[in-house]
Symmetry: C2
Subunit: 492 residues, 2 copies
């Protein structure tokens, strides 16, 4: 890609002055239109050191209303970010509807920085490319525009600029040995970056490589591409040609039916289960210490019928964990703020830090359960979700080195009715039962087939589903805890 | 305080078993009542190492609905937190309405940890006590219950417990040399902690020091105090005896009238101003580098009449700053989520990191302007706000080592009318003028006296107000930039 570029390209002052004003004004207007249309925009500005990333960023934001954008300068991750999967910090910074997120450096620079310090960087690079492409595709499928710039200068030009900065006492301290070291290896990195760009140059998130020797030419090109891309998106949106809902020819994961049963073959007395539980809880406490010590994160997902006993089950599992090392994350309908973002963001936000356990009381599977059944999202959206969820889970497991297990708590329809009625009669439990529970119950069959499809399409080796037969609460608690222990042990 | 305690206190098994069940159940019920009443709760659990902080926390949360609390384990600050004022991370973790925030260790442990490593710790401790008391008073005045526990054990008991942990291979690694070192100085710290507790034992946030030699006794006491305090708060609330609105006999800052003028004595041509601005902007760029390099944060607050030119003024100031080193924070009415918290939290959240500049386009002064005039808060609330704001600004300046300057952009009533009409006629600026602007204009006189009182009561040496005569936009821009430069220079 770099070979084809002509780094001597310039723009004369007159043409620049004539064109830049209208482009800036146009960008300001486009920002307001995008806001009115609720379209999120993600702008990535990458490039060689001293190629003008800061300068281009400063240019763009001067044409924008500060009420409508966020600028993210991406440098080394913070401790909190380092303890999470690679893409976590970027997910949190994705734009909400109608807003613009500008990344001055991004996951590309970070992937490169991490990669080059890793021994198996070729393998690591491949993984990162998959993660990044999945991320950008998901954001674009969610309705966002993704625009990526790479500012390109030659090695000689870079040297000149770094020397210039060193001569200025105000900027000299910015030119670190690390930057000079990177400069010296310019020719080594060139083909690596070239390949990186080529493999992430997609139809949903294309690269614009900008010849940046002439600063004015670079600014002009950045503005031109920005305005052109945003105008196109707005036209498409207004014409109703949204790529959002289109199902791509994606390789669907095989459907492997998962058998559901509501009661177990063997049965145990409550006392018997209590004894087993007590022993298991001590085992769990020890394993939790080991996870914490070795900084391995673990996710436990609870899904199941209303009144299947998720709450009690979670409490039993948690009882002997260190409270500072786990979080129970109760998931309800998204609030107004959460609705402004990609639907996966609010779950990713609570991904556990290294060494921590996150217990999701309901989860992202709401997309293919309640949202599907109640029509809160389009068919295209929930159809797409199986793959998106599998990708998210795989990415989490691979990039964090952690584990995940997902529980479906199964009870039969009669058992649910019995429990609903019990709750209604118990003054301490009345608050647990609402009209919504009764309404959901009426749609038992629709939910039933949604559950079947969910289990079949998202039961993966890295994040398996385990059906917990929950008609007998005590048996259910023992099985859940045993399953967690088994899965944690596999990781250690 | 510690002298009066009897560390041999115990509870017999039978009494414990009889009382703990009902207490736990009661706590669960109280949580739901507090949620329904929208009362936030802040529980602080402090104590000696190995005194049972983790164990007590684990106990409490087992009686709580995970949907309604957050547990914050407070350890060393992250990089992001370290770059902010001391109380910043705690402000962000304050509970929203109806929720419980539990702090396992808190600002107390952190203040102590920082203090003991500082040379001038006696002075630093005094400052921290003021900060902490102000913080807790503000949170309590905002309607929250603040409950603080200190778990107390003797030096001998601590030694025994640490040795016990060391013998267990699972917990041995938790007993660091640092913890042993702290143990060895138990007798040195005892009077320091005693004094710290005594000076922060207030009516709005009282301490409960718990004799924790007998674990069951400690748990019993923690539950008892919790239930008692929460029940009292609920009764008060239901009886309408809310402390929220009561104005305490607080020392009001002196009112120093600040003169406002809308046009300057001297006048300059636009061209002249442009030249001056260009030179100042270069100076600003240099100062910004120095702030960045020396990790000094700076806050610029813009308030002013509608159409006074805040936007244009901010753009001119920002033009020559490094975009990665400043943020413009546009303040609109609080959204639903923000309304769930103390009104200052959403502003504190955006306090600049060390070396960064934050430009607030409108600010916390909304409390004593629009919220006062439109009746969005009670008189007690806005009357209290002057002191709260002064405290917040002083705390920010002192604990971050940064600076702050606040601009009031003054135009006269006729000039505003002229600008409103111009905006209505310019298709590119129409979006800037709304019905609300016209409505606000009708209340000019009410706003006028609110502005006078605001300037008089919050013009402090650490965060001065500067009136910018803005009838002449160009003059206003020059004056604002000059003022920022002067104030930044004073810091360097």
């Amino acid at each position: 890609m770099f070979e084809k570029l002509d780094l001597t390209k310039t723009i004369d002052d007159e043409s620049f002055e004539k064109s830049i004003g209208p482009l800036k004004e146009r960008l300001g207007i486009l920002q307001r239109t995008l806001r009115d249309l609720n379209i999120p925009v993600m702008i990535v500005i990458e490039g060689w050191n001293a190629a003008g990333i800061t300068m281009s960023t400063a240019e763009i934001i001067q044409s924008l209303d500060p009420r409508g954008f966020n600028l993210h300068a991406i440098d080394n991750p913070s401790d909190e970010e380092r303890a999470r999967p690679f893409m976590w910090r970027f997910w949190l910074r994705t734009p909400s509807k109608g807003r613009i997120a500008i990344f001055a450096r991004s996951w590309y620079s970070r992937a490169l920085a991490e990669k080059l310090s890793s021994l198996s960087w070729k393998k690591s690079m491949k993984d990162k490319i998959v993660s990044i492409n999945n991320f950008e595709r998901q954001i674009a499928d969610g309705g966002a525009v993704v625009i990526k710039f790479f500012l390109h200068i030659s090695k000689e030009e870079q040297k000149m600029r770094l020397l210039e900065r060193e001569r200025n006492p105000l900027t000299a301290w910015l030119v670190t040995p690390h930057i000079w070291n990177f400069h010296q290896h310019y020719d080594t990195y060139l083909p690596i970056i070239d390949e990186f760009i080529e493999n992430t140059d997609t139809d949903y998130a294309p690269w614009h490589v900008i010849e940046s020797t002439d600063r004015k030419y670079a600014i002009f090109k950045v503005y031109s591409f920005l305005v052109k891309t945003l105008e196109k998106k707005i036209l498409e949106n207004q014409a109703g040609i949204s790529k959002k809902g289109k199902i791509k020819s994606i390789s669907k994961p095989p459907r492997t039916p998962v058998l559901r049963r509501s009661s177990s073959e063997s049965s145990h007395s409550k006392d018997e289960c209590q004894d087993i539980l007590n022993n298991l809880q001590i085992e769990m406490l020890e394993l939790h210490y080991l996870l914490f010590k070795r900084r391995i994160p673990f996710i436990i997902v609870y899904e199941g019928w209303d009144a299947a006993g998720k709450g009690g089950n979670i409490t039993r599992i948690a009882r002997f964990m260190n409270p500072l090392g786990y979080d129970v994350i109760p998931i309800a309908a998204p609030n107004e703020n959460e609705k402004q973002y990609h639907y996966l963001r609010r779950f990713i936000k609570y991904f556990p830090a290294a060494g921590h356990i996150a217990v999701y009381d309901r989860s992202w599977y709401g997309r293919v359960l309640v949202e599907r059944v109640e029509g809160f999202c389009s068919e295209n959206e929930w159809q797409r979700a199986y793959q998106e969820i599998n990708e998210m889970e795989q990415d989490y497991v691979e990039s964090s080195g952690g584990g995940m297990v997902k529980f479906w708590l199964e009870i039969d329809k009669d058992e649910q009715l019995k429990r609903f009625k019990q709750r209604e009669q118990d003054p301490l439990k009345q608050y647990k039962i609402t009209d919504e529970d009764w309404r959901n119950r009426q749609k038992w069959d629709s939910y039933n087939s949604a559950v079947d499809e969910m289990l079949a399409r998202t039961n993966t080796p890295y994040a398996p589903w385990v059906v917990i037969e929950s008609d007998d609460k005590w048996y259910a608690r023992v099985k859940a805890l045993k399953t967690v222990i088994k899965n944690v042990e596999k990781l250690l």
